[in-house]
Every structure is written in structure tokens, then in C-alpha cells.
């Protein structure tokens, strides 16, 4: 049977109904749950950007969030480390539980949240400081009193950048190439010893070679961290992630979760018609 016939043979039915909790995806795999997202909706003023997202993210996996532009993937990602707080009009409904604790509880300090849930951005943004100071910034701010040199070296090693920069730690971070800068940003995020690393389209500003290096890096990193990556590059999601969540935009322009499953399953035997259309390039 051809793949197409295979697909046609499977009855395509929606795996979940929006708004109900009966068919919620419980994440894939057998590690601990890190994020338990429950009917999370995000708003900018009166505009709803995300509609009742429900799913779970598990430890030591790479979870990819894919979907067409504008469907709210970045908003969802930023919901995990409360970066949306920086926008005046942003507010949310529902819950995101992090190790069982509601991230949006009134007494939770966003600064503490961000020290445990780090972020790497789309365009590499090293500080105009030396490489050493870039990596040391996070620990210093968090009050780290131990051996900073060791922490910097360890972070740079884990980001697969140490060998390239060990002799020029005092040179500006902005003098590195694009791919190196992004690995520096990863080292910087790692230096605060987070639990989770969020990545917002980390390779979209990089060339293919640098992209592949970062994808390899992600595989190494997942042993020690949990990684959630937003990407519009489907091949990357298929290559690099363990679990994939597919979001799309409804008619009210609010993003909603269509399907979430192991990456293999999403890309070979998706349950939902929309997912299949997106994967095969029919839209988005």
C-alpha cells in the first residue's frame, strides 16, 4: 500500500474536542510531567491569541510546537516563562502548572520563574559585553557565589562552544558569527542552571550548517534539560524533536491545539485532517 492509501485507510477523526477535557493529550513518553497546561487562553487586551490550550510536556524530551504563522506559537512559548508579562495588555485564563505549581498564581515571582525556565530567542542577542561576561550575567544576577570561571566553562562546553572561544573569552560576544552567537546565547541560558530551555525559532536567522549544529546540540542538551522549541520549519521539527504539538488558527484568529503526539506519529500517521494538510504543505 502506498502511504496515501495507508492514510486513506485510517479513519480520520479528530482526536479531541475543543473545550472538553475528556480527550486531552497527556503527552507522550514516561518521564515526569514538567508543564501541565490546562485550558490556557492568552489575550492581548480584548483580542484572544490562544484558545484553551491543553496538553502536557514531559521531562528530558524535545517538544516541538509547529503551525502556520500568526497562530500564537510564540505567545504560547512565552506563556511558559511569563515573558508575556512584559506586554502591557497581555493577560491570560486557565492554568499552566509547572511541577504542580500554578505559574500565574499571584504570589509567584516572574523573575524566579525565568531563572528556572530559560529562553533562547529567534535572533541571537548577545550583550555588548565580553563572552565571559555574557555567560556570567545570569549567575551574577541570581546571586551565584561559587566559582564563576568554572560555571562559565561548563556552560560553554555544554553549548558546544568552549573549544572555539576558550582563548578569547574577553572579546566581545557580538564579534562572533551568527551560529556562534546563538550557541553563546544557549550557553548564557544554561549558565543559570535552568530546568527547562525554551527556544523560539532559534535557527531561523542561521545558515543550514549552523542550524544542524544547533539541532545536534539540542539532542545532547535534552539529557540534562527539558526543551520546548517553536519552529515553522517542519523538517526541523521532524528531525529534531521527540514530541510535536500542532497549533493552528481558527476563524476568530485565536490559536488552538489541533493535535499532539510523538513526532513519528504526527509526521507519518496524523489523526487530524488539518495536521495532514499542514504537514503535506497544503496550507500554512
Amino acid at each position: 500500500m502506498t502511504i496515501t492509501e495507508q492514510r486513506q485507510a485510517v479513519e480520520v477523526r479528530p482526536r479531541m474536542t475543543i473545550g472538553t477535557r475528556e480527550a486531552e493529550p497527556v503527552g507522550v513518553g514516561d518521564t515526569q510531567v514538567v508543564f501541565d497546561v490546562q485550558a490556557f487562553s492568552a489575550y492581548y487586551g480584548s483580542f484572544r491569541a490562544l484558545k484553551e490550550i491543553t496538553f502536557q510536556i514531559r521531562e528530558h524530551q524535545i517538544t516541538a510546537i509547529i503551525g502556520p504563522s500568526g497562530c500564537g506559537k510564540s505567545t504560547l512559548l512565552r506563556g511558559f516563562n511569563r515573558m508575556n508579562d512584559l506586554v502591557q495588555s497581555a493577560h491570560s485564563d486557565g492554568q499552566i502548572l509547572y511541577h504542580g505549581v500554578d505559574l500565574y498564581a499571584p504570589d509567584v515571582d516572574p523573575v524566579e520563574v525565568r531563572r528556572r525556565i530559560g529562553m533562547v530567542f529567534q535572533k541571537p542577542n548577545p550583550f555588548p559585553k565580553s563572552i565571559y561576561d555574557n555567560v556570567a550575567f545570569g549567575p551574577r544576577v541570581a546571586g551565584f557565589k561559587g566559582d564563576m570561571g568554572e560555571r562559565v566553562e561548563q556552560s560553554l562546553r555544554r553549548a558546544a562552544l568552549w573549544d572555539e572561544v576558550k582563548d578569547k573569552l574577553t572579546t566581545p560576544g557580538t564579534a562572533l558569527s551568527g551560529g556562534q552567537q546563538q550557541r553563546l546565547c544557549i550557553a548564557r541560558a544554561i549558565a543559570v542552571e535552568p530546568d527547562v530551555i525554551l527556544m523560539d525559532e532559534p535557527c531561523s536567522a542561521l545558515d543550514p550548517v549552523a542550524t544542524l549544529r544547533i539541532e545536534e546540540l539540542m539532542h545532547e542538551l535534552k539529557q540534562n534539560y527539558t526543551i520546548v522549541i517553536v519552529t515553522h520549519n517542519m523538517q526541523q521539527a521532524a528531525r529534531a524533536s521527540d514530541v510535536t504539538a500542532f497549533l493552528t488558527m481558527g476563524e476568530d484568529r485565536a490559536g488552538y491545539l489541533v493535535e499532539m503526539d510523538s513526532t513519528d506519529k504526527i509526521f507519518t500517521r496524523p489523526e487530524h485532517r488539518l495536521t495532514e494538510d499542514y504537514i503535506t504543505g497544503r496550507f500554512g
Binding site: 497527556v26 514516561d30 515526569q32 510531567v33 501541565d36 502536557q56 502548572l97 509547572y98 511541577h99 504542580g100 505549581v101 505559574l103 498564581a105 504570589d107 509567584v108 515571582d109 523573575v111 524566579e112 520563574v113 528556572r116
Partner: protein, 305 residues
């Protein structure tokens, strides 16, 4: 396949997420910034209030006489009429001279000149001129107009000196206003066959006019308050007799409101304090009025586009 963490671990996480204690350093920084703001605003308020209070005796008892009398060594008779005339004429001079020349120079630099070393030098030179202390312009006026050209210490010389002082500012603000004109407007005009001047006159200048006007008016307000250059070129800091017609005024001794202030500040009698304060009130009131008008104009016309 465990779904959630055990209660005690999540309590631990919650505790850490609630954050450390009191961040005293943020409060210190906030306090320092607020103190700075209070000081800056406070000084302004104290200054205006103090001057206003001191000016009250003169302004309440003899306001009209104060505005229409001539300078006198007797405080009970002294007035600022000559200063008002002088300042008005000086500002008119500056407007008539500095505005066309300044706008013309800016138009040349922005619309006609190619980006060569020469034009870049001219631009840098103008920027430097804007930073030259006002008193040096007074020296220029003294050397060239009073002495070299032998014009003497007359109002025309004062006007020329102030015009030169204000010129770089007019050029800079006009340049900024011209640069803000979108390229599409220029292209549209050139596209229907206009020459460069026709394009500038009919499209660029009207669009940039609010910005140019605002800049010019603000520089006139600046000229209105200048003292040092006038002192250098011989504005009278004492008393002199009133003048007849316009020609006499332009070619004779003169004074201005700021120079009157300077003169009276140096007088020992107490009554002069009140006169000085009253003059300052007039001076500051005019400057505020002019600045305010310029900003209102800019806001009103900006909306049209």
C-alpha cells in the same frame, strides 16, 4: 506513567517560585530617581514662584507705567519700554535674516548637494557652530561689524550678531524637518516632470513647513533671551535717552530685556530687585508663550498629514 510530581516536591518548587525576600536595591534606585525628579521639578517651581513673588510690587502697583516708561536711575520711574522695543526689533531682524538663509542652506544640503567630503565638512562645521558659546558670536560681531566695518554699537549690529548665532540651529532643525519628508512625495513630483526646485517648492517645503516653522520659532525664542553677545557688541547696559523714528532706533544705541535684567541685577538699591523680577516675568512669559505656540502649531499641523 506518573502524571504529576509528589506534593512535597511541588511545594518546594512553589516556595522557590515565590521569590526571595525584599529587593532593597531596587528601592534605592527608585528612590534616587524620584529624588532627582523632585529636585528638578522643585527647583523650577521655586524659581518661578520666587521671581513671581518678588515681581508683585511692581506688577500690581504700576504695571502699565512699567511697560511704557524708559530706563531711569530712579527705580520709581524706571520702565522697560526701550527694552521691549529693542528686543522686538532684534527678533524681527533675526527672523528676516536667519530664516531665509538658514532654510536655504538646509535645502541645499538636503536636496541638492551630493554626499561628498565637502558637504560632510559643511555639515560638521554647522554642528560645531551650534555648540560655540554665545559670547564668541559676540566677539565675532565686535570684530567684524563694530570694528572692521566701523558700524559702531548700533541695533543693526546686534541683530546681525544674533542672526548669525541662531543660523546654525535653524539649519539643523530645518534639515531634520526636510529629512522627515518621505521619498515617495519627492518621487511623485519628479515623476510628473518637475524640476528640483519646483518639487521642493510645491511638495517638500509644504510638507516640512510645520517642522521648519517650529524650529524657527524656537530659535527666535532663544535669541530673545540671549544677553552675552549683545553685551559684547555694545548694547547699552545702563540708561540712554529714548529714540525717535524707526531709523533712529535701528542706527542708534539700544538695549533689550535681558540686558536690562543684567544691568538692574547689579544695582545696589532694593527696589531694583523688584524691577528685575518684574522684567524677568515679562521675559519668561514671552518665551513661554512663543515656545508654547510653536509646540501647539507643530501638533496641529502634524495631524493633517
Amino acid at each position: 506513567m506518573s502524571a504529576t510530581t509528589s506534593p512535597s516536591a511541588s511545594d518546594l518548587v512553589a516556595l522557590r517560585l515565590r521569590g526571595g525576600g525584599f529587593d532593597w536595591r531596587s528601592y534605592v534606585l527608585h528612590g534616587a530617581m524620584l529624588l532627582a525628579m523632585v529636585l528638578a521639578l522643585g527647583i523650577l517651581i521655586v524659581l518661578l514662584a520666587d521671581v513671581a513673588v518678588r515681581a508683585l510690587p511692581v506688577l500690581t502697583q504700576r504695571p502699565i507705567e512699567f511697560l511704557t516708561s524708559d530706563l531711569s536711575s530712579r527705580p520709581a520711574r524706571a520702565g522697560i519700554a526701550q527694552g521691549l522695543e529693542g528686543s522686538l526689533l532684534l527678533v524681527l531682524f533675526v527672523a528676516v535674516l536667519a530664516m531665509p538663509i538658514g532654510v536655504g542652506a538646509a535645502v541645499y544640503l538636503e536636496e541638492y548637494a551630493r554626499d561628498t567630503r565637502v558637504t560632510r565638512f559643511v555639515r560638521t562645521n554647522i554642528r560645531n557652530l551650534a555648540g560655540v558659546p554665545a559670547i564668541v558670536y559676540g566677539l565675532l560681531g565686535l570684530a567684524v561689524f563694530v570694528t572692521l566695518l566701523g558700524l559702531g554699537k548700533i541695533l543693526i549690529v546686534g541683530g546681525l550678531t544674533l542672526a548669525i548665532l541662531v543660523l546654525p540651529i535653524v539649519v539643523i532643525t530645518t534639515s531634520e524637518a526636510l529629512r522627515a519628508v518621505p521619498a515617495s512625495i519627492r518621487e511623485a513630483a519628479l515623476g510628473v516632470g518637475a524640476t528640483r526646485w519646483e518639487m521642493v517648492r510645491s511638495h517638500v517645503l509644504p510638507y516640512a513647513a510645520p517642522g521648519i516653522l517650529t524650529g524657527t520659532i524656537l530659535s527666535l525664542a532663544r535669541a530673545f533671551g540671549e544677553t552675552a553677545p549683545l553685551l559684547m557688541v555694545g548694547a547699552v547696559a545702563g540708561t540712554f535717552s529714548a529714540h525717535g523714528g524707526l531709523i533712529d532706533q535701528l542706527t542708534g544705541s539700544y538695549t533689550a530685556l535681558p540686558t536690562i535684567v543684567f544691568n538692574w541685577v547689579g544695582q545696589p538699591q532694593d527696589e531694583f530687585r523688584s524691577l528685575t523680577a518684574a522684567t524677568i516675568v515679562v521675559l519668561v512669559a514671552v518665551i513661554l508663550l512663543v515656545n508654547g505656540t510653536a509646540i501647539v502649531l507643530r501638533n496641529r499641523y502634524d495631524r493633517r498629514w
